[in-house]
Amino acid sequence: MERPLTKLLVANRGEIALRIIRSARLFGLKTVAVYSAADAKSAHVGAADEAIAIGPAQPAKSYLDIAAIIAAAKHCGADAIHPGYGFLSERPEFAQAAADAQIVFVGPRPEVMAALGDKVAARRIAVAAGVPVVPGIEAAEISATREFAALVGYPLVVKAAAGGGGRGMRVVAQAAQLESALGAAAREAAAAFGDGRIFVEKYLAHPRHIEIQLLGDNHGAVAALGERDCSIQRRHQKIIEESPAPGLSGAMRAKIIDAALKLARAAHYTNAGTAEFLVEGDNFYFLEVNARLQVEHPVTEMRFGCDLVCEQLRIASGGKLAEPAAPRGAAIECRINAEDPEHDFRPATGTVLHLSVPGGPGVRFDSHLARGAEVTPWYDGLLGKLVCYGANREEARGRLVNALDEFALLGVTNNAAYLRDIVASEQFRDAKLSTHFIDSFFSGWEIGKPEIDAAIVAAAITAGGAMGDIPSDGAALPLPAGAERRSPWDSLKNFELWGSRR
């Protein structure tokens, strides 16, 4: 059953492609990057041993194009494909296409993905295994959905059946919004996952999001590597994740882990996956299984001292699951996104003009960014994951505050200051965690007044030329014929006071 692998194609981009390449190299594999036209100069392309262009910027014609990726794998002689997260990672057709091409897919078998990766089918398995679920229904027909809504009451939550990561998810507060929410969710789901099926669930009042990291090998062994609390979400997407879940009782943890293992065994689950639950009071409800590596897997790695991508590769090559080490300390991750937290988290794009990355003890930064990197509108806005370890939660939290204070990124609007204020807050310190954390404590957040004052002074210094490089996007631009090369800042006479003294 052992099948030694030699060359891995990474069917993804951004930080996760780079992260997979790093571990694949550690595991002894040659690595192949694939890239769209928009990513030709991206970090994962330079990091791999080979790089293959698979199509234009549009995801549907590149990172979501199964045929193009399988063709690339055959072309370069890759004997394994790692799908990362998002894109094709939970598409059974992709796993099947790899299998048909005699290529090892680093993930569960297609039939397991089909059963567990789909929210609707996964609920059936959970119910059969005796695992509690949130009341819900597949929203195939609007009349049945209305009936369900009348039964359980509003608010409801609308989700992509095939999805994950909060895409296509919407909360519906009253009956009048139901139809339009279903439409918008279906559109986003179709665009993001190529599958517009929608699922509707009862919306819990103050749940925590707790998930269990699972690993299963091809010899029937299944293991759980503790839990993660991912309650802190904006727009239904996680932005801060941690392990262990603070304040979770040992009994509750044991019950949830037991439920996750039951599910995994019932589904004959293999490779890495995550069982997600909502926890409210003394109850917990199965939510879904993400049949892939999770964005927030590093918190588990830091606590268990393991490398989940290496574990995935070991399992994929037929190896046996090793007994996980005992967990130690605590780890917290935050996601630095290209978005504007002062303006409803609207996506941002741009070129990185300056990047300061924190370092030192207990700090990990997973990112494909560097000075000069471009953030385009084509893909999701995850710029990097800052993860801190501590002997306990307070130490991990303190490190993360300090690391965010050391972080600086110029050129792409991002949420680092927002994350910093959340992690430094009393509410986070006191672990008042629920999926409504942001709405309860951090809606209407703004950059502090003293920081804005400092920024205005810094802008004056920059305008005067006493700080900052000349970025390539300004200086190198060809001027239209007849235009003068005159900076709008030339008129700011006050500020030349600074420049003139240089």
Binding site: P377, A408, N414, A417, A459, D473, W489, R501
Partner: protein, 176 residues
């Protein structure tokens, strides 16, 4: 100098009153503060204001200045650009794409009267839908895009003119 923060219409009136070495006296609106700047080898520096030290970086772009203060990053534009946008006596005479993306839905047509906050266009970028709404009551003068079209950052999507019914803001509020 007069500037605005990107995405914010309030005008900031600031002035460097005096400078001695790295120490500068700055007026922001009606307030004055003393700031001391120490350059760092990495191209940024440290700004000390009121006993607190801020790590800052700056970069000039063609039409804006980018600044970071600790983990916060801010973009400033010269106020003249903002004034141009307010020329018609509207909060914003144009609906502009805040990022490159695809126009998913256009909810208005030429000649429509819209209220402040009314959704006008939905853009998709980075796998997220973003709805652009009217900043004040207005009349839709001209819809420049259609559904499915790709647009660049800064592209004018819709031109607005003052609504006959609306009370026109004469000047933008200032940051004190």
């Amino acid at each position: 100098m007069k500037l605005t923060r990107a995405g914010d219409l309030r005008e900031i009136d600031a002035e460097v009153i005096s400078r001695d070495g790295g120490t500068m006296r700055v007026r922001i609106g009606d307030r004055q503060l003393t700031a001391e700047f120490t350059p760092n080898a990495d191209g940024g520096g440290v700004l000390a204001i009121d006993g607190r030290r801020y790590r800052v970086f700056g970069a000039r772009r063609k039409d804006s200045i980018l600044v970071s203060v600790g983990p916060a990053s801010l973009e400033f534009k010269p106020a003249e650009a903002a004034s141009r946008r307010r020329a018609h006596g509207l909060a914003a005479p144009e609906v502009i794409a805040p990022m490159p993306g695809k126009v998913l839905m256009v909810m208005v047509r030429d000649g429509d009267l819209v209220e402040a906050g009314q959704p006008l266009v939905v853009i998709e970028a980075m796998k997220m839908e973003t709805t652009l709404a009217a900043e004040s009551a207005a009349m839709v003068k001209h819809v420049r895009v259609e559904e499915g079209q790709m647009v660049d950052h800064g592209a004018v999507l819709i031109e607005l003119s003052p609504s006959p019914a609306s009370s026109v803001r004469e000047s933008a509020p200032r940051v004190e």
